[in-house]
Amino acid sequence: MNDRSFMLIGLVLYLGAFLQSLYLLRGCGQWESRAHGPLVLAGWLLHTYGLFLRGQRLGVCPITNLFETVMFTAWALVLIYMLVGLKWRVSLLGPFTLPLVIALCLFAMFPAVDQARDKFTRNVWLSLHATLSLLGYGMWALAGVTGVMYLVQERQLKSHHLRSLFLRLPPIAQLDVINLRLLIAGLVLLTVGIGLGFVVGVVLFLKDVPKTIWTFTIWAVYAGLVAVRLTGRMRGRKIALGSIVLLVILLATFWLVNLVSTAHRF
């Protein structure tokens, strides 16, 4: 079995955990079985092993092409989801996160996406720059997921129509706080990531105009969102909506920018 096979089995386990959650959510009992956590963990461990094998073969962190980059982001997303779920016991975070993880993995699994690169950097600092940036995107992706959960719960509270999801979803105050923390964590990681990239590869940085503009624009918009939330000028629904819209923009433009990028072409 090669690295892709392990990642594919991991994807199947994520899918199994998600379908099981959907099935349980249709019923009136508990939505989460005892098998849900172990299924996701097993999927993530296989995902990790697949990435490890790929990294071992390349001799660097496996983020040299679009397949690896997307699989790494999905891997980070599951890791952050498990840590957040463990720390704050956020009910239903799994069924809301797994569709995004599965979509990312399915996209990456298209053979055309996994094109081997002839040249890629072996500079440790540049690898760290990319890794931290992708972890930051993972944080923002989960912020988008908690934003969706917030909107679903808030819609029920506003409309006075409380469906079965109402009791199972966390309080909106908790979702709002977790969303903010994820936005801040993503911002910090991306700031350090960009900073490293700028210090280590300043020439490449300045030459790669489209990627540089894109990165700074995304960073600035997220920073603005965090600022208005911290000052209390916006809170709740608008921040949740902002997290989702920015995530959609991020996902839609990330690969487009890579197509026109020089130093960041995956």
Binding site: Q30, K158, S164, P171, I172, G232
Partner: protein, 347 residues
């Protein structure tokens, strides 16, 4: 060995009869010891709550056990008159089915409530500690607790609140999470507001402000709730710090309007505000619900949610009955294999 139950509940007997036959917690051990002397009874557990008094027992002949328990109930409480209609007497399989229904909340005044499970557990533990139980009742009660757990996890009968006060608490918890750090303001010192505030206090909410047109009444209610009275003409200034407002004042106009709340939300840094309008005519302009982070519920909204939750609970009754019936049959199979036991008075 046969299992029987003799008792009365909120449906069979009015409160003045139930209270006459109730066993106080302080004297329960004494009553359990006295129960041992009942002829024909091998084991016995006394369940006494505000809505029911029941004695579960086992005996070789069900009629003798029932008659013994009934005589005990009358003589222990000094009741001369025979309570023919108020007391129910069940033999198997109904006695087993009844316990399974009681612990699952299917026989409760508030259908599906879970408090009764804890009360029956306590009653069983007291009987166990007094050595009033043997193999049959030990197994029966353990099975009953398992059935209650199964019904709770596999059906909707414990889901959602079914009273106005508890719906308000549930909504507050879904907005704020923990209520311990939240502040509530009561506008109008009415009975419903007080009950709702007390429900919130029972979930950890501490700070209560009371505003009323008659300031003395506000002070009196604030003292009762351990809160602080606020002058009615300045209550608006306090809303910046408050998380939940319960309003039940009789006024011809709205005391809170969208125009007033909009700038207030900025001053509150858009922290969520839960408004409970119990007044008729309504005290709060409905349009405030369109403001971000403001959640407005009036008395009809709360009642409708409570009714919907009750309907959802009752729709699952058939499923609950199936679970109970299946478990009654399983337990009876086990009971048939049990060797005869001595009566408590012979031990």
């Amino acid at each position: 060995m046969h299992i029987v139950v003799v008792g009365l509940n909120h449906r069979s007997a009015p409160v003045h009869v139930r209270e006459r036959l109730a066993f106080t917690p302080a004297k329960l051990d004494f009553a359990l010891t006295a129960l041992r002397g009942v002829p024909g009874l091998a084991e016995g557990v006394i369940v006494s709550t505000c809505n029911r008094v029941e004695i579960y027992g086992t005996g070789q002949t069900p009629r003798e056990a029932i008659s013994g328990i009934e005589s005990f109930l009358h003589s222990y409480h000094g009741v001369d008159q025979r309570l023919e209609r108020e007391i129910y007497r069940y033999e198997e399989p109904r006695s087993i089915e009844h316990l399974f229904c009681v612990v699952s909340g299917l026989d409760s005044m508030v259908f599906g409530e879970t408090e009764v499970l804890g009360q029956v557990k306590q009653a069983y533990e007291r009987a166990l500690a007094c050595k009033n139980t043997g193999k049959a009742l030990n197994q029966l009660f353990q099975r009953a607790f398992q059935v209650a757990k199964k019904i709770r996890s596999q059906t909707q009968i414990t889901r959602g609140s079914v009273s106005v006060g508890s719906v308000a608490v549930e909504l507050a918890e879904k907005i704020f999470g923990e209520l311990a750090g939240s502040q509530v303001m009561i506008i109008g010192a009415g009975d419903t507001s007080e009950k709702t505030a007390r429900s919130l206090q029972s979930r950890g909410l501490r700070v209560v402000l009371v505003a009323n047109r008659t300031h003395e009444r506000a002070e009196a209610l604030a003292a009762e709730l351990g809160g602080r009275a606020v002058r009615f003409d300045v209550f608006y200034d306090e809303l910046v710090h408050v998380d939940i407002v319960i309003s039940s004042i009789t006024v011809p106009h709205h005391v809170l309007t969208r125009d007033k709340l909009e700038p207030l939300m900025l001053a509150r840094q858009n922290r969520p505000l839960f408004l409970i309008d119990l007044g008729v005519p309504r005290n709060i302009e409905p349009a405030v619900n369109n403001l971000d982070n403001v959640y407005l519920y009036n008395i009809d909204d709360l009642q409708e949610i409570a009714n919907a939750n009750m309907r959802a609970r009752q729709e699952d009754l058939a499923r609950c009955n199936e679970l109970v019936a299946a478990n009654v049959e399983k337990f009876r199979e086990w009971l048939r294999r049990l060797p005869p036991m001595t009566v408590m008075s012979e031990e």
